[in-house]
């Protein structure tokens, strides 16, 4: 009797690992220098292809395995220097990574891969002309200054600057002589660094010696014809285990990890959530008996300790679900590169903060908006090299993407140094689409905000790049649905910057407790603009039905929470209530509550999982006293109450009389 193995669980691992392998290949290929490839990078790409091939064969995905075999043999040629690295080679290899990804997706969903599509890429791969590896014309310079080098007024940087004038220079620092920072012999005025330099130039050795003439006695200098870079790197590797990744920004250390099914983690997080709730009920109960100090004194201490540990536990449990945003950021260099090629533009992408961690779900949902914003930046933001030159800017544009954590939020910034928004064009477009009237005067900020309105589509629907029918309104809605916000600052001619704020996790949030009748409701703090007392003279009714409230210089619809949720309010007069102005992402709206209570962190329990999805509610939570409170889903509530808001889709642009 054969053992009946359930292969499907291994399939999952195979797909996951292959996906990671493809990402490694892609980022390796993007780092590959045409002409002089770094053998380490070639090796990484080769190894990734090799493992995919092996695994695909094992699991019977013959087409993938055959495809990868062709890919692998080309990479092997590159590795053994039988084949040089050309731009064409990199392009075709990147296309085959796409091809592989497509085949893997098909295999995963059980679909049949389109053979023609695969064959077309295979053909390109097989027909790649073999460019001989150009003999690297250049010099290998090992420059190890003596510690006192700087004290004679010489600066290695200036030497490198001069070398650079001779040709292309690759600089690899050697940190092996660097003493620890706290060691006594560390003298900040000494030079402990050494450098391995690869100079691609046809300059003669005399020219190089000339550059180093002034430091001849102050350093150990070794100048050789290149062609043995790899050996040199390996020699150094043996000498010290310090990875030589400094110039590429570091690959981060491999950390031991295990693969766990996400369901197990979610169950754990759910249980921890329950624990937090039980703990807060316990705290509440102890506080209620506070008058009996003798008995509760010790108990209170224990409960406080428990509270501390519970929150610590929850924080750590949340972190299990967190992934570094690099997973999304990694896709961006390829995107920018491809867009630039198809649009004939030049742009550099600078990414920082890739190690910032964010909840897996948030990460998954932020990818599309992010990709969209980058597309926009290249397509609409960055000008053509000609236009840039004419505007006195460098021909190559710069797109900066950064992420960092601030409090309980993660902030992602996307900044370009392109043309910025043209307020004139936006106004014309907005008037054409009837979003604003012809006579309205808007501030610059209000004009910029117009691009987030549904029905506003950016000027020219260029190619297949941005004009995919997805507007900025969708970007904004996706972000708002996650409980986040997006802001735009733009200056015409200088560029635009988007700032996205997102909650770190979807499992807990800062909530504002409000009371309507006998019910406690929770409004996400991130959505609240302001809370205010209601003044009757600012209240009016449109068409005798919809109530609107004049909030600062705009009219906002007023939403009575008691009616929306079918609760009976205890308000005798509307002016006894409080207005909570929230931003739904599309517009501002005032929620009418009986009373505003405290703010606190709440654990979000899904209604969908425990009961059923209820429109207008994001979930529920259990408060310290054991009461269940509903969490208002602000954008969802607005969609649900369309009847009330339909007249005001563009309400936040309504003019003053």
């Amino acid at each position: 009797m054969a053992v009946n193995l359930d292969l499907s669980q291994f399939h999952e691992i195979f797909f996951e690992e292959s996906r990671e392998g493809l990402e490694a290949m892609e980022s390796g290929l993007l780092n590959l220098d045409v002409g002089v490839p770094d053998p380490e990078v070639v090796n990484t790409v080769f190894r990734a292809a090799h493992s995919i091939k092996g695994a695909a064969g094992t699991f019977g995905f013959t087409n993938i395995s055959q495809f990868t075999h062709v890919l692998e043999s080309i990479l092997d040629d590159v590795r053994s220097r039988k084949r040089g690295v050309t731009q064409e080679l990199v392009d075709v290899l990147l296309q085959s990574v796409d091809g592989l990804r497509y085949m893997l997706d098909c295999a995963k969903s059980g679909a049949q891969a389109d053979e023609d599509r695969v064959a077309a890429i295979l053909e390109k791969l097989q027909n790649l002309p073999v460019e001989q590896q150009p003999r690297p014309a250049g010099w290998l310079i090992r420059f190890s200054p003596k510690p006192h080098l700087l004290q004679a007024g010489n600066d290695p940087y200036r030497l490198f600057r001069e070398l650079k004038a001779l040709g292309n220079l690759l600089i690899t620092p050697d940190l092996s002589r660097l003493p620890g920072i706290d060691e006594k012999e560390f003298d900040p005025e000494n030079c402990y660094l050494g450098w391995d330099l690869l100079l691609q130039s046809d300059a003669g050795i005399e020219q190089i010696r000339e550059i180093f003439a002034w430091v001849e006695g102050d350093c150990d200098l070794d100048i050789n014809l290149s062609g043995e870079r790899r050996q040199m790197v390996e020699r150094r590797r043996r000498r010290d285990d310090e990875p030589a990744e400094l110039e590429t920004g570091g690959k981060g250390q491999e950390q031991a990890s295990i693969r766990v099914n996400i369901d197990k983690i979610d169950t754990l997080i759910n249980l921890v959530g329950e624990l937090v709730i039980s703990q807060s009920i316990l705290s509440h109960a102890v506080t209620e008996h506070d008058h009996d100090h003798d008995r509760t004194g010790r108990l209170k201490e224990i409960v406080e300790l428990l509270e501390k540990n519970t929150w610590g536990l929850q924080e750590q449990a949340m972190r299990i679900r967190m992934q570094s945003i690099d997973i999304t950021f990694q896709r961006l260099p390829r995107l920018v590169r491809d867009l630039c090629r198809s649009l004939d533009k030049q742009a550099e992408l600078e990414i920082s903060g890739g190690s910032t961690e964010v909840d897996k779900t948030v990460l998954e949902k932020i990818t599309d908006p992010l990709v969209h914003l980058i597309r926009n930046a290249v397509d609409h933001g960055i000008e053509t090299p000609g236009e840039r030159k004419a505007a006195g800017k460098p021909e190559s544009g710069l797109i900066e993407v950064s992420a960092f954590q601030e409090g309980g939020k993660i902030i992602i910034k996307i900044k370009d140094d392109g043309a910025g928004l043209d307020p004139g064009k936006i106004l014309v477009k907005a008037r054409e689409n009837g979003l604003i009237s012809d006579t309205e005067e808007l501030s610059m900020g209000q004009i910029h905000d117009l691009i987030f309105l549904p029905g506003f589509s950016t000027a020219t629907k260029v190619s297949d790049v941005s004009g995919r029918g997805v507007g900025m309104d969708v970007v904004k809605r996706n972000i708002n649905d996650l409980g986040g916000s997006i802001e735009l600052v733009s200056e015409q001619g200088k560029g635009s910057a988007f700032t996205i704020k997102l909650p770190l996790t979807l499992a807990i949030m800062d909530g504002q407790l409000i009371r309507v009748g006998k019910e406690i409701l929770i409004v996400p703090v991130l959505a609240i603009v302001e809370s205010t007392q209601i003044r009757k003279q600012l209240l009016s009714a449109v068409a005798g039905k919809t109530e609107v409230y004049r909030f600062r210089d705009e009219y906002i619809p007023l939403l009575r929470l008691d009616k929306a949720y079918g609760i009976s309010s205890e308000l005798k007069d509307i002016t006894d209530g409080l207005l909570i102005v929230v931003d739904t992402g599309q517009q501002r709206v005032g929620l009418l509550a009986d009373e505003i209570l405290s703010q606190q962190q709440v654990v979000i329990k899904s209604l969908e999982a425990n009961f059923q999805q209820v429109p207008g509610l994001a979930g529920a939570t259990v408060l310290g006293d054991g009461t269940v409170a509903m969490i208002i889903d602000v954008p969802g509530l607005m969609r649900h109450c369309k009847g009330i808001t339909a007249a005001h889709t563009a309400g936040n642009a309504a003019p003053l009389p």
């Binding site: 004290q151 004679a152 007024g153 010489n154 600066d155 200036r158 005025e189």
Partner: protein
């Protein structure tokens, strides 16, 4: 020689201060910070080597580039300059272009 160096550098847009000998140069250096010192070796009152040694003792001249003016064949003087703490040298005689080229190496 001093006038020619000064004239060439001023022509290229650099701010130049002149001193007639090492003593004067050192006095100026104590009161002012400069980006580059160019000194001859043979000077009255204080020679170039002594000047360099004295300059290197001043905290703000510890890492300042100092170039000596030297003749092609005097490798001994080049080395003495280096030992005293000079950054490099300018070989005499020179044309204005090569002087500027050398100066740009250290600025």
């Amino acid at each position: 020689m001093r006038e020619m160096v000064s004239f060439t550098l001023k022509g290229a847009g650099y701010e130049v201060f002149n001193a007639t000998d090492g003593v004067e140069a050192l006095a100026f250096a104590r009161a002012n910070d400069v980006d580059l010192v160019i000194t001859d070796i043979n000077m009255p009152n204080m020679d170039g080597f002594t000047l360099i040694k004295e300059l290197r003792k001043l905290p703000s001249y510890k890492f300042t580039p100092i170039l000596t003016l030297t003749t092609e064949d005097s490798s001994e003087k080049k080395n003495m300059g280096k030992v005293a703490g000079a950054t490099g040298w300018i070989v005499k005689p020179f044309d204005p272009d090569s002087l500027l080229q050398t100066v740009r190496r250290v600025l």
